[in-house]
């Protein structure tokens, strides 16, 4: 079970129609690869975020399958053109079945 998982997202509050904005996301997670051993030589079980997706008003924006080599506290930065006012939904899926979500709305001026 992953402890202290906390998503953080930065989306501009406003944009012009069709403007390309930069979105930054970060989630605190230990991303245990499953390759390491503890002091007694036992394998530390894999525990990672295995999937990250973003949608805007229900339309898929980004869909990422994540692998064990991704380092701790995964950070994604990407650009997206925003056609209208609406809401971004960010979803992270954990190996342990947990789903973490964050929503951010943006106004088109």
């Amino acid at each position: 079970m992953a402890d202290n998982v906390k998503p953080r997202v930065r989306v501009p509050k406003t944009a012009k129609a069709g403007e390309v904005i930069t979105i930054k996301t970060l989630i605190s997670h230990q991303m245990e690869s499953g390759q390491r051993k503890d002091q007694d030589g036992n394998v530390i079980p894999r525990s990672i975020i295995n999937h990250f997706s973003v949608s805007f008003n229900g339309t898929p924006v980004l869909d990422v399958k994540m692998e064990p080599a991704i380092s701790t506290n995964p950070y994604f930065e990407f650009e997206v053109a925003v056609p209208e006012s609406g809401e971004f939904l960010f979803t992270w899926k954990d190996d342990d079945g947990s789903v973490y979500e964050d929503r951010q709305s943006i106004e088109i001026s």
Binding site: N4, K6, R8, R10, K24, L26, S28, S71, T72, N73, Y75
Partner: protein, 290 residues
């Protein structure tokens, strides 16, 4: 043949003379002393300050460790979103508001908003009412055990570091100003003694690297002046927050010496002395280092 040998001898002599003329202090000044601009101008943290009076003859100016890091690392600290240490600040603030212990209190029950901690970091460590030198960790654990009736946190535990980070960031930008006179003086003297004492098989004192060779290479990195205004530090190497005592422990370990314990009286004294060397530099909250 003989003329070549003559030449070689002359060159050897010249090289030897060159080495002899190198002063024992070989520090390298930073190329620039730009301030740390946080979040595109929300806050500017100076990276240089006049040395405090007790360092007269040692340093003219004191520098933030930020100046000695590479551009990408510097940039991470300039944006609170990209600064990975801020995750732990958020977790620390959550902890601040979480009720725990038999008294049914959280930190916020007495201290209210964590903003009330503004200024605390700039004066730490300091002598408490009983005359003992306490670090921020001691104050936190005292509150936890006496007021909250909860268990003390381990010095280097994640929760403790999260709390010290969340409290430190409230003072970001305020100049470090630890008291070194009065009741603090004997502790400060003890810390100074330690700073100049050579430890370990490599026989290195703090001063050998951080006073005599700041700016020079150590392995693949640059030495800083060893200022502590940026602690707790998010260290990329460990991908985690690092406390001051942990850093002291690491340095003494690297001299191949037996180190003191985190939370020991020795490290509190050293913490005070090292903090006083940085009096005047701003608290950097959670800084990012290699």
């Amino acid at each position: 043949m003989s003329s070549i040998r003559m030449k070689t001898c002359a060159m050897t002599a010249a090289v030897a003379a060159l080495f002899l003329s190198v002063p024992s202090h070989a520090e390298t000044e930073p190329e620039t002393t730009d301030p740390i601009v946080i979040n595109g101008g929300e806050l500017e943290l100076p990276t240089v300050a006049p040395a405090p009076a007790h360092l007269e003859g040692v340093f003219d100016q004191i520098y933030s460790g930020w100046l000695f890091r590479d551009a990408a690392t510097q940039a991470m600290q300039m944006d609170d979103f990209e600064n990975p240490g801020m995750i732990f600040v958020d977790q620390g603030i959550d902890d601040w508001n979480t009720v725990e212990g038999k008294a049914g209190k959280s930190c916020a029950s007495c201290h209210e908003d964590i903003e009330s901690m503004k200024g605390v970091r700039a004066a730490m460590p300091k002598v408490n009412e009983a005359g003992d030198l306490w670090s921020m960790e001691d104050y936190i654990n005292d509150c936890r055990t006496s007021r909250m009736q909860a268990e003390a946190l381990e010095w280097d535990s994640d929760r403790m570091k999260n709390l010290t980070a969340a409290i430190s960031v409230q003072s970001r930008g305020m100049p470090m100003d630890v008291a070194i006179d009065g009741l603090a003086e004997p502790y400060w003297e003890q810390g100074r003694e330690m700073y100049y004492t050579r430890y370990g098989q490599l026989e290195l004192a703090c001063a050998n690297c951080h006073e005599g060779h700041y700016g020079d290479w150590i392995r693949a990195d640059h030495l800083s002046q060893g200022m502590t205004n940026g602690f707790p530090v998010y260290r990329l190497k460990q991908a985690a927050l690092v406390s001051q005592h942990n850093r002291f422990r690491g340095c003494i370990r690297d001299t191949r010496g037996e180190t003191f314990d985190m939370g020991s009286d020795e490290f509190r004294a050293l913490e005070l002395y090292v903090a006083s060397r940085g009096n005047g530099l701003p608290v950097e909250g959670v800084s990012v280092r290699h």
